[in-house]
Subunit: 714 residues, 2 copies
């Protein structure tokens, strides 16, 4: 074991000879730090365990099931495509090995830099024990210290690098569906949004647009005028965002396949031949994204899309998902042939059935193909969690090179480190109430891992959504930076207008509200970029007391808001815990109303027609008039609503929304302040750098619900 | 359509020529009642729809997913074995077509007497519409009126007949596991319970005890001394409860098979030959339980068990579940043979995979075998929901005949009507927190259907339970009449002692508490038998107001208690809504403590070590000292805890616990009363019929937590 300091707060301990994952950045200063806990390492295996008191909590682990507090479950870091996310699942699409253990008195952050399987048992098998099993002997353990939970996160973010920042239009509303089959379907969706007066910034394109599931191809039949479609819609502020999958169809004459073979870009099997797996296109090869040359080659392929006017992409199936491989399918077929005419007992029958039923994503597939890193061969299993990450690096670099301005990019598989290159959607969820609830719980952990441009498929991907579920989900999702309604082929339609006029009206109201608060969300993202702070924070990161610790379905947003969505069917409201007096904000297009909400537990009536959230004491939040796309939004008039007891400040961050200037600090800051002077008079002021702002309207409530309005010209 | 009155409150409307299901009892008085709603009937199909205002609620539908209020989901009445009960599921093992629609001002009960598929869309597809699709044109619709929700239930129960009543030992604690493979395993479980000082009344035997999955057989290898085992354990108050499946193994020389063939007892396929399906024993025939002669024959087979000292049975796989049938397996095998050597595209691959993956319980299987009723042939699909019901009638009648005293009997498949013959467990649930929550929500609907001897597999059947989940579940389950811990082979052990000493202590405490309150639960069951009232009632059946309507995770038990279990991981408490002032009961073996709990919302700290519930104002609840089995319990000393403002009464029902005397009113009633006279002095009295009671100890709290204790010798 060798120990090193990375920063004042971050110490690394290296065991064996780990793969360089590229996740952690910065200079290492080797020294003689004591390892403050016991790490057991033997051949092929490492383990750590902590005993837990009943008060200990564990936060983090990225996109996983379970609560904000991760205790009481088992988790696995191993990127996996398994679309039925019920309670038995231990892993989803991402592998994020950062967590904070909060002991009775002290909190410590941990990051395990290791690209293969890690299992966490957080007080599940034994309520008082947290065990971590690392499936390898070569890894680096980082210990991150800080003065508070939030500070530990900031200190961790200082060594993993700045997050991906989407263009401003990336915060608009997106519609998606696997099953918009033709150009006409897409135009119809666009037109319906406009006709129904629902804002829209883009339509995601699923597999349907491709020719025979081939990356960087277009279906001539179904999308004959793709370029015109892209430009027509973009003119009205609506962008198309096509999907790209990891597997490249094996087909001679198909340029990507031919170039990949010629350039030696595909992962190899045991014998050194390109590995054959089957995914959507049937048989495919997988590009070896762990090689820089392959990333550069594949990244350049995205030019096919940027040349067509595309400015955003989603990377899918990059765990990589495998439907079957040749060996296993043959085994199944042979077993069936052998069963013919036999009187099968129940166990032989189950064995036969399982050969087909469980043919997808088998563990052994990932031991059947290899990557070469620094001259050493690794099975995919050994470096598994880097695959989707590095596919996304490839896409990011290709898009940046060929577009010359910011792009939207999200990926299904993820690892910490990828946060520098893209956002993530939380994968193929279902139209389940429990997945709305999960969406709330997952957000802080994603922020902890460095991912800010995140969101779930609103309404749920698999299964049928009801108008009620969609509306309740939207009441939450309008706060998430990535806001996308997406559903699977064969499921009921779930566009905001798919459930009749009443539900359409609810959703129109909510999506317009999203555009109203978009400058606030964008500002908070730019702040997080600057200072590494979380955007969505559990109440327990900020407040003391049992009720705050238990508030698993409420979140703080920025320093200003507390959101408490309804996540249950048939509810007309919910109980909300207010750790301090706040203002209840009832947000409607024509009126934003503030009312006093006293500290303690309260039953909040919350209808489908409402948008309600809480504004903290001595805080202000900006909003603007909605528009039909981000392109339409005007920053001329900024409204500030505040709950003012003594004094309140807000600094609005903004920029041009498209360039990489923010990387060099080219951000406009506008400082709003309001204070009550000795006589009780309220004074407001604005210090402005933003060339677009002309007028600011303050509406400030005191604790007794008296509101005053003041205007400032800037 | 012909209309008739059954009672003052129940009117029937018959469409076409329905199958006689035997569910509804009583004399029909035909007349000219107007049908107060529109029923659309065409060839092979009936439908009803109601428009819903946003305040309307729907209750009932028996063992289904969803809330107490059934709005916002789709349901299906079609008994189905599908063990992964996630949110997309629309049907479980039972088919209960009783529901109450509560309109703004008025509530009406409905029962659809129809034994095949019915689909309910309760404001799912359209939030404002409740549609019912009946897959047939021959059915009877009953409309049940009443003065209140509770009254409607009582009026419905008056026409479906009195419920099954287990022996008193049926309310003890039961341990079960699929995978207790041998006599030694069973003895070990029994001994561990005794050693760990955890009460126990029985061990369920899953398939393991059988010889090759054959009904009414014993494995000579694994259970060589079955009779001795049964009697040894019974001597100590612990009974064995073996499983019986619906399918009879095809095996010449096996008496049940041979007799079934000879007696023409098996369901037939299209060609008139016994239908071949495959279940646990491999290929089986299904007895035609819809024939009285078959029920009598199969019922007599239970004598095999009663002769061995058995006094309880569970009927399983009686939807009936089918793993595959010959036709479909051959199709799968042929498809595999055809795929050999082909380069399968992704769609042909999915088609092949699905032939094996979805081979169980296919709709068409139930169209491939037939029943004969009154000389008319029906496919199983047409009368599907009667199958498990009638298997259980067979078991019930056989056991009653051969045992001569009450028996325990539960069934997986169910239909209303079966409530007269047995209880139900809620099927093969999972070790999911959501299934604990579901358990709470489902109970009132089961009572509405007439089922009182009900409970879920505590800790969950499939998947791995944690000690935390088991303990939280037990904090709820100790109130359910059927209390069984059951888990599946391959899953982690989940006996109360499987999680270390701390969790063992929690569970010991809870199970002992169950035995303490058992006289109360038994009394409430006898009362429900007498008057048809529900035992577990939603708050909305009793109290007004939005919070009461929304209280989906709290229940009233009897007229006395309100239970508010913790149903979430990592919780140290929960919010509870108190519609009125109550007493919080903290129940420990050594001390039952009452404290004042004021009306409104309160955060209740509720640890794993606790048992907490609420006692209503001016109510009392009896309890006794725990015992190691029901056999051990003594009624000599009865404790009454009460929250007394002015006056409180409780009538304790009891009987000998084993005979059928209760059917003729042979029940002991003991009336306890407490009142405060003009001077504020408290007077208590007891009027007793119960020969076992000698002393009564009252502990009564007023609203200010002052407690007094009074003893009465009787």
């Amino acid at each position: 074991m060798s120990a090193f300091k990375l920063t004042k707060h971050v110490t690394g301990y290296t065991f064996g000879d780990p793969v360089e994952t590229g996740i952690i950045q910065g200079e290492k200063t080797y020294g003689h730090q004591e390892l403050p806990l016991e790490v057991h390492v033997e051949k092929g295996y490492g383990s750590i365990s902590f005993s837990l008191t009943k008060h200990d909590r564990v936060y983090g682990l990225g996109p996983n099931l379970g609560g904000i507090n991760k205790r009481g479950r088992q988790y696995e870091s191993y990127c996996t495509d398994d679309p039925l996310h019920h309670e038995d699942k231990t892993t989803l699409y991402g592998a994020h090995n950062f967590f904070i253990l909060e002991d009775d008195d002290v909190a410590t952050g941990f990051f395990i830099d290791f690209p293969s399987r890690i299992r966490y048992d957080v007080g599940f098998t034994d309520m008082d024990l947290f065990t971590i099993d690392i499936h390898g002997e070569d890894f680096t353990l980082y210990i991150i210290e800080g003065d508070s939970l939030k500070d530990i996160v900031v200190n961790f973010h200082a060594v993993i690098g700045k997050p991906y920042m989407p263009p401003k239009w990336g915060l608009g509303f997106f519609q998606s569906r696997w099953g918009y089959e033709t150009e006409e379907d897409i135009r119809k969706v666009y037109e319906t949004f406009r006709e129904k007066d629902i804002p829209l910034d883009g339509i995601y394109l699923d597999l349907d647009y491709m020719d025979d599931f081939k990356d960087f191809s277009l279906s001539g039949d179904r999308f004959p005028n793709f370029r015109t479609l892209v430009s027509d819609l973009k003119e009205d502020g609506v962008r198309l965002i096509p999907i790209i999958d990891a597997g490249v169809k094996m087909e001679e004459g198909y340029d990507v396949y031919d170039e990949g073979v010629a350039g030696n870009h595909f992962v190899k099997d045991e014998s050194g031949k390109p590995y054959v797996a089957a995914v959507w296109p049937g048989k495919v090869h997988f590009p070896d994204f762990l090689q820089e040359s392959t990333r550069a080659w594949f990244g350049d392929k995205y030019q096919f899309l940027t040349d067509l006017g595309i400015e955003g992409v989603w990377n899918d199936m990059n765990e990589p998902a495998i439907f079957y491989d040749e060996t296993s399918l043959s085994e199944g077929i042979e077993a069936a042939i052998e069963a013919k005419g036999q009187n099968l007992g129940v166990m032989p029958f189950f064995a036969l059935r399982d050969k087909f039923m469980n043919i997808g994503n088998r563990d052994e597939y990932y031991r059947r193909f290899y990557h070469e890193i620094d001259g050493k061969r690794y099975s995919n299993e050994e470096v598994h969690n880097l695959y989707g990450f590095q596919m996304t690096v490839s896409a990011s670099e290709g898009l940046r090179k060929h577009l010359g301005k910011r792009h939207v990019l999200i990926s299904r598989a993820s690892s910490i480190g990828m946060h520098r290159y893209s956002g993530i959607w939380t994968g193929d969820n279902s139209s389940w109430w429990s997945h709305l609830d999960l969406n709330v719980k997952m957000l802080p952990a994603l922020n902890m891992s460095g991912f800010y441009y995140v969101g779930a498929d609103t309404g749920g991907f698999g299964g049928n959504a009801s108008g009620e579920l969609l509306t309740r989900w939207m009441q939450f999702s309008i706060f998430t930076p990535l806001l996308r309604n997406h559903s699977a082929i064969g499921c009921a339609f779930q566009e905001p207008y798919a459930f009749g006029e009443k539900v359409t009206a609810y959703n129109r109201h909510l999506i317009k509200a999203r555009y109203s608060i978009l400058p606030y969300l964008y500002s908070e993202m730019l702040k997080s970029y600057e200072d590494g702070s979380m955007m969505f924070t559990p109440l327990s990161f900020e407040y003391f007391g049992e009720e705050a610790l238990q508030a698993e379905d409420q979140l703080l947003l920025g320093e200003e808001l507390m959101i408490a969505p309804v996540v249950k069917s048939n509810a007309r409201g919910r109980y909300v815990y207010l750790p301090e007096d706040m203002a209840l904000v009832s947000f409607r297009e024509d009126e934003v109303r503030l009312s006093a909400a006293k500290a303690g537990v309260t039953y909040l009536s919350y209808g489908m027609e409402d948008l309600k959230f809480f504004l903290r004491r001595n805080r202000m939040m900006p909003y603007i008039a909605p528009g039909r796309s981000v392109k339409d939004l005007s920053m001329k008039v900024i409204h500030l609503v505040g709950y003012l007891e003594t004094e309140a400040f807000y600094t609005l961050y903004d920029d041009d929304g498209t360039s990489y200037g923010y990387e060099d600090g080219m951000v406009y800051k506008t400082e709003f302040s309001a204070r009550r002077d000795e006589d009780g008079d309220i004074k407001v002021s604005v210090r402005n750098e933003n060339p677009n702002i002309e007028k600011v309207i303050f509406t400030l409530m005191d604790g007794d619900e008296n509101s005053i309005t003041k205007e400032v010209q800037v």
